[in-house]
């Protein structure tokens, strides 16, 4: 869940009133946000780096607000305020307007076919006559970072570049070139670098190094030029220094490049809808013509408004409420979904604005109605669904058996299903290749290399960690192990195992043997070669020579034991 950090004072100023922390927490809760923390820069620094380091840092109060992962329209102060103000019916939802310049006057972005193999999609738009202040500018930069980290999947799907349009001249070209042919002065550097030099430069950069892998091994790197050959950006790594924006920038060229067209369009829509608020004509965006390699042209941003129809009784039935159509329409309008009743009250027409890319089905509309209605105002009822309960036979047996094992004086252990290869192979004197173990591809530590194929290592480790306890230790576990099995749809399966260990100064074979006899008695398997169980001497790599037996039940070999 992304967390947005906003200055409390600015937030209240924008909301036109102040709240106590508790009141604001309550408002967040109702709206589906979470006021995660009330803090300050000073607090954050002293928590992370120690109190001494925080000296001089700002103690302006910050709200850290958790935002649902699909609400890109709430990732900045502007969007949060707009969402909450509409929710509280203090403002009407603005209508975002796309201004298409007269023929020949608008900006163009030409995509060349070389981009196809590395980063095929690009969209763009212009924010005209914008007025930045320090706070607005910071929020603009923060929003891009939030989008990069979330919907853009750390720039893998989409990367955003914003440029001072007055420093560059269109038409712009989005192309891909051999790294050595790309040379420009990257953002906030004092000299020019070639692309390979930049990769070296950023290898140690705490922020940018995470994105290098996205293009590093490609033969061509994506790059955007203006008509004079000035580099705007080398997405998804870095912008050029030449076109960087600052507080005095009046016209911003926004480009989004990526591998996922749908998300690139959403990201562009999000940025321009949020910040067009500060344009001379608020909520207007100047369109850019994007020319594809095949010659086709598209106009961006899309800023598409979509209409959906949902029946009032559908909403009422899904939520368990009984609101009138007009009141439902009003509830939806409070969620930035402008709605009105049509067709003699039989239907509600809902307009999905470009900021609400998360609304993809009627169920999303139903949820918004519920949020505006207030989840906690919905009458709780018990469904009339009549069913007879059944236990899973395997779990039922497990529950019964573990009670009787405890009654037999053994204590239940609960150990991890994941372990190291060593635990199930080397340490038991067997080779890992003979275990049929399931192997994990991306373990962070050796503790998570494989799923256990036997419960024994876990019990032995439990004993090792409890050597201070008085003897004897009598432990058991009934749980699942995992082995490969090509006959299963996923190629592996669980088996339910029972393992018991007796630990004392003398071996006490008769004690563990006695437990086996007891378990068999509980399972109604008599000691008998023909129709019951027997144990037969064997050798096991984990066991002392001559001190290991196998259990056979009705001539099926179960498991070696000591």
């Amino acid at each position: 869940m992304p967390t947005v950090s906003v200055r409390r004072e600015l937030l209240f100023q924008a909301l036109g009133r102040s709240y106590t922390d508790e009141e604001f927490d309550e408002l967040c809760f109702e709206f589906g946000l979470e006021l995660d923390d009330v803090t300050s820069e000073k607090d954050i620094i002293s928590k992370e780096k120690g109190e001494g380091k925080a000296e001089g840092a700002s103690d302006t109060v910050l709200y850290k607000i958790d935002v649902p992962a699909n609400r890109y329209d709430l990732l900045c102060l502007e969007g949060l305020v707009r969402g909450l103000q509409v929710f509280k019916e203090r403002i009407n939802l603005p209508r975002y307007e796309k201004i298409i310049p007269a023929k020949g006057e608008g900006q163009k972005l030409i995509i060349t076919e070389e981009t196809a193999k590395v980063r095929p999609h690009a969209v763009a738009a212009v924010l005209r006559n914008i007025t930045f202040t320090k706070e607005r500018y910071d929020s603009f930069i923060d929003l891009q970072e939030k989008l990069h980290q979330n919907i853009c999947r750390r720039r893998a799907l989409v990367a955003i570049g914003t440029h001072d349009l007055d420093t560059i001249a269109g038409p712009f070209t989005f192309t891909a070139k051999a790294p050595s042919e790309i040379k420009f002065k990257p953002l906030n550097q004092s000299q020019e670098y070639t692309a390979p030099q930049m990769m070296d430069l950023y290898r140690t950069d705490s922020h940018l190094r995470h994105y290098l892998h996205l293009i590093e091994n490609k033969p061509l790197y994506p790059v955007i030029y203006d008509s004079n050959g000035v580099v705007l950006s080398m997405p998804p790594i870095i912008n050029g220094d030449h076109s960087k924006i600052n507080l005095n920038t009046r016209n911003v060229f926004v480009e989004c490049t990526g591998t996922d067209m749908t998300k690139a369009k959403i990201v562009l829509d999000t940025i321009v809808t949020m910040f067009s608020e500060y344009c001379e004509k608020p909520f207007t965006v100047e369109a850019v013509e994007v020319i594809l390699p095949n010659g086709k042209t598209h106009i961006y941003p899309e800023l598409a408004y979509r209409k959906e129809k949902v029946k009032p009784e559908h909403i009422n039935k899904k939520l368990g409420i009984s609101e009138t159509p007009s009141s439902l329409a009003k509830l939806l309008t409070r969620m930035c979904l402008k709605s009105h009743v049509i067709g003699n009250g039989n239907n509600i027409e809902i307009e999905i604005p470009p900021t609400r890319a998360d609304i993809i089905h009627a169920c999303d509309i139903v949820e918004d109605a519920a949020i505006a209605y207030g989840y906690n105002n919905i009458q709780m009822t018990i469904p009339k669904t009549y069913t007879i309960a059944n236990q899973l036979p395997l779990n039922k047996l497990t529950e019964l058996l573990r009670l009787d094992l405890a009654a037999a004086g053994f204590t239940e252990a609960l150990t991890f299903a994941l372990c190291s290869q060593e635990d199930i192979a080397d340490k038991l004197g067997t080779d890992i290749s003979s275990t049929k173990a399931v192997h994990i591809a991306n373990p962070k530590t050796a503790e998570f290399q494989v799923a256990r194929t036997t419960l024994l290592p876990g019990l032995l480790k439990t004993i090792a960690a409890n050597r201070k306890m008085p003897l004897p230790l009598k432990l058991f576990e009934i749980s699942d192990i995992v082995v490969k099995d090509p006959s299963k749809d996923v190629g592996a399966r669980n088996y339910r195992h029972l393992c018991a260990v007796y630990y004392n100064k003398s071996p006490g074979f008769e004690i563990i043997h006695g437990l086996l006899d007891r378990v068999m008695q509980l399972l109604e398997v008599p000691p008998s070669e023909e129709n019951g169980y027997v144990i037969k001497a064997t050798e096991g790599s984990a066991f002392f020579p001559g001190r290991c037996a196998e259990i056979f039940a009705k001539e099926i070999n179960i498991e070696p034991f000591l």
Binding site: I388, A389, L418
Partner: protein
């Protein structure tokens, strides 16, 4: 028969006048009787147990004693004096002087006392000479006075110095001041500890005095096995679901395909949860050999193009992603399988399902997160279920868990809409804490399976560990799960009664 220690003590005590004036010190009595003090204390305790025969008041006294090293100094003199005395009048090279008795400890002391002189410029290297004619061994004298029982006469400064040099030890002595009790008597009847069959047979128990039981002591713990506290909570949760008419789903496959874990749940292939950082993918078997082909085609379509009233996610859905095997990140994958199974039935029947089993996350470990934990999940599928039904079901469920103060927060979940986080007011923490997650399954999940359009599925989930940690007051999850848990905690854990 020779008299017991207790009898000897009583005989001695008899000579003392009753009341506050008379009495014996246990230390003195032991010395007078030629007994070890501990033996006498044992007799005092056994007499106390008889009631009011004697009164004994515990006393503590401190005493100074010579340490082993102190005894050596008393015998042979302090190191500095021994060094001084063994140094010849013509002096010695420094290195030789350091080999003399007492030099290791005494040299610096003797120098500080200005008894010795070190000539660094002497021919043949630094040389040590006596600086005074004769010295007095004040350390040895001090120790002698302590030994003679005159420690109190020693100035405190001097005593502390000897203590600092570890020559003196301060010993605390525990003793008793023993007086006659109200029921004092020198003839102590032996009390019986246990009733025997013979006493009952002969009826002698009627005359015999019995030693009273010590009811303030704990009894003997029974030798027994114990159930693990987390699994005790699991049993109770199973019980709650069964009481509510929920049927248990099969969950015995830790290995799951991305298809069932994510795609079937309408979780897009670029979703962060499908990242290497969050999920354990498998190297072997890396891919699921078998996926349900016709159902998968519908899942592919709803992701990439939409359908069933949905816009879809509009991206290129890849079967290779769906085949990737992993360790299931939630038991909702098992719920998806169960619902698909239900949809494949000829005729839809309403169901209530539950499961409690392990799930796996490739997370950073800390006090509240492990790479594996147990998920508790409940699912109801029926025609016409509402959000109010979900909330009502949750209220009943959590009431059985002993959690009554609930409220619901809108949330986001890729596979449920509406989605709600369940919060409960924690009296201890004085705030609302999240206790579970819930929602109504999306139509994009249910309709491709083939469930009828008017069927709604409500579901909720929570971890088993969290309520267990709250129940048993455990702050660190590593003290609850895994091989490092302290078995004493398992031995000592009480019954799991959730609704009390």
């Amino acid at each position: 028969m020779s008299p017991s220690v207790a009898e000897l003590l009583l005989q001695r005590l008899e000579r003392e006048p009753p009341g506050p004036g008379g009495g014996l010190c246990s230390l003195e009595a032991a010395a007078a009787l030629g007994l070890d003090h501990q033996t006498l204390v044992g007799a005092v305790k056994s007499l106390q147990a008889l009631g009011e025969v004697i009164e004994a008041e515990a006393r503590a006294a401190t005493r100074w004693e010579l340490s082993e090293e102190g005894a050596e100094v008393l015998r042979a003199g302090s190191p500095e004096v021994r060094l001084f005395r063994s140094l010849p009048p013509e002096g010695l090279p420094h290195s030789d002087a350091m080999k003399l008795p007492g030099a290791q400890v005494g040299f610096s002391k003797a120098m500080a006392n200005k008894w010795l002189r070190l000539d660094k410029a002497a021919p043949g290297g630094p040389r040590v000479f006596r600086a005074v004619e004769a010295v007095q061994d004040a350390v040895q004298d001090g120790l002698r006075r302590v030994q003679e029982g005159d420690a109190a006469a020693l100035p405190e400064r001097e005593r502390n110095e000897l203590k600092r040099r570890k020559l003196l030890l301060e010993v605390t002595l525990k003793s008793y001041w023993i007086r006659k009790g109200r029921a004092f008597s020198t003839a102590v009847a032996r009390q019986e500890t246990d009733l025997t069959p013979e006493m009952i047979a002969t009826g002698s128990w009627r005359q015999l005095p019995f030693k009273p039981y010590n009811f303030s002591a704990l009894g003997l713990p029974p030798s027994c096995g114990h159930l693990h506290p987390l699994l005790k909570v699991r049993s109770q949760l199973r019980q709650i679901f069964l009481e509510m008419g929920f049927t248990e789903m099969p969950t015995d496959n830790f290995v799951e395909s991305s298809f069932w874990n994510f795609d079937a749940l309408f979780q897009p292939q670029q979703h962060p949860a499908r990242d290497q950082h969050d999920t354990f993918f498998l190297q072997d078997p890396a891919e699921a050999p078998e996926l349900p082909a016709s159902y998968m085609a519908k899942v592919k379509k709803v992701h990439s193009q939409g359908g069933y009233g949905s816009q879809g996610y509009k991206y290129e859905w890849k079967v290779e992603e769906a085949r990737k095997n992993l360790l299931r990140t939630h038991t909702t994958s098992a719920s998806a399988r169960a619902l698909y199974h239900l949809a494949c039935q000829e005729k839809f029947t309403p169901v209530k399902y539950f499961s409690i089993d392990r799930v796996f996350r490739n997370e950073s470990l800390d006090a509240t997160h492990l790479a594996e934990f147990h998920q508790v999940e409940g699912v109801v599928a029926d025609r016409g279920l509402t959000l109010g039904h979900l909330m009502g079901t949750l209220r009943e469920f959590f009431t059985k868990l002993g959690i009554t103060k609930l409220r619901f927060k809108p949330a986001y979940n890729p596979y449920t809409e509406p989605s709600m986080e369940v919060f409960s007011y924690h009296e201890g923490l004085k705030k609302w804490v999240e206790v579970g997650n819930s929602g109504v399954f999306r139509p994009e999940l249910l309709l491709p399976m083939g469930l009828p359009e008017n069927v709604s599925v409500i579901a909720w989930g929570l971890s088993l560990e969290r309520p267990t940690m709250i129940k048993y007051g455990i702050n660190n999850i590593r003290e609850l799960v895994g091989h490092r848990v302290n078995l004493q905690m398992v031995y000592d854990s009480p019954l799991c009664r959730l609704d009390t």
